[in-house]
Amino acid sequence: MLDRFNIVNRLSPDRDLILTTVDTAVNLARANSLWYLLMGLACCSIELMQTGGPRADIDRFGSLFRATPRQSDLMIVAGTVTLKMAPRLRRLYDQMAEPKYVIAMGSCANCGGPFDLSYSVVRGIDKIIPVDVYLPGCPPRPEALTEALIKVQEKIKKERFFLKQEASQQRKTEQEKRGKDGSGIPFQGSSRY
């Protein structure tokens, strides 16, 4: 119990008082209520629906699907992104409020997948938006998507929430190093990820 919740100290076994850090408490709340934006574009969206369905229920992790980016903090991009859809994807990502996370679900979102032979497909969404977890599979099983969600939760639990300035500065320098343009226009193209 102590390890699971990073509890610092429990004063005595019969009292209901737990000591912990503010970061731990806030991160616990944030990680266990990740609402995801339904970005189901192609075949992986059916597996996304099945993951929210009765057997592999993603709602037990506190995750709920939202149709609007303003109310969600996780974006699960499930499916192939074409060149026609790419500006809309970027616009939806920009509309989400910080802190936001992205799971690239399936081969097509990771690197173009089997549609690498095509002329109208974006080969990987990390050309457009920064990705936190890459989930391979064509399509990945619901258990795999649940594992990806748990990885995002672990990432959140390690963050230091109150040093917000430092965190967003860090993200900005990381983006610049990776050559991404954070302004809201479509990705300008770079030979590095």
Binding site: L83, A86, G112, G124, P186, Q188, G189, S190, S191, R192
Partner: protein, 172 residues
Amino acid sequence: MELHNFITLIQERLAGKVLSVAEMKNDDVMITTDREHFAEVVAILKNNSSFRFSTLMNQSGADYTDTLAVMVNLYSGFLRRKVTVKAFLQRENPEIDSLVPLFRGIDWYERETFDMFGIRFLGHPNLKRLLLPDDWEGYPLRKDYVYPHSYNGMETGRADLLDVDAAGEAHV
């Protein structure tokens, strides 16, 4: 109706308007015409009371390397037969009459053929690109199409991390 009777009937009714009538696999018949008589042949097949090919099954285009072509597949519930009508077109400035006055549902099929091959359909109410963005250049399903390197500033290739140059950088 028997296949050879059907072919004889076509050759009688459409004499002078078709270039050839041949058997095709899957109990089908291929009628080849030229672009001036294409719409007329399809109209006769649809409206004539001994044919009644009133169901459109499919419309597509093809690029035969030196010519383009347009094909239409029709079905007649009266004869329980299928037929394919094909017309060859030249590669530069290909044009053919639209069949929208005969079949209202062929609208989007013709728009898609225009989008993929560049074949213009004369008399079509709204001939614009359908599947690709409006500012796309080129006609993808032609045999001499070159895949674009970028579209509106977005590069289409992806760097291979295992393929690095002397400075240790990967390029698209």
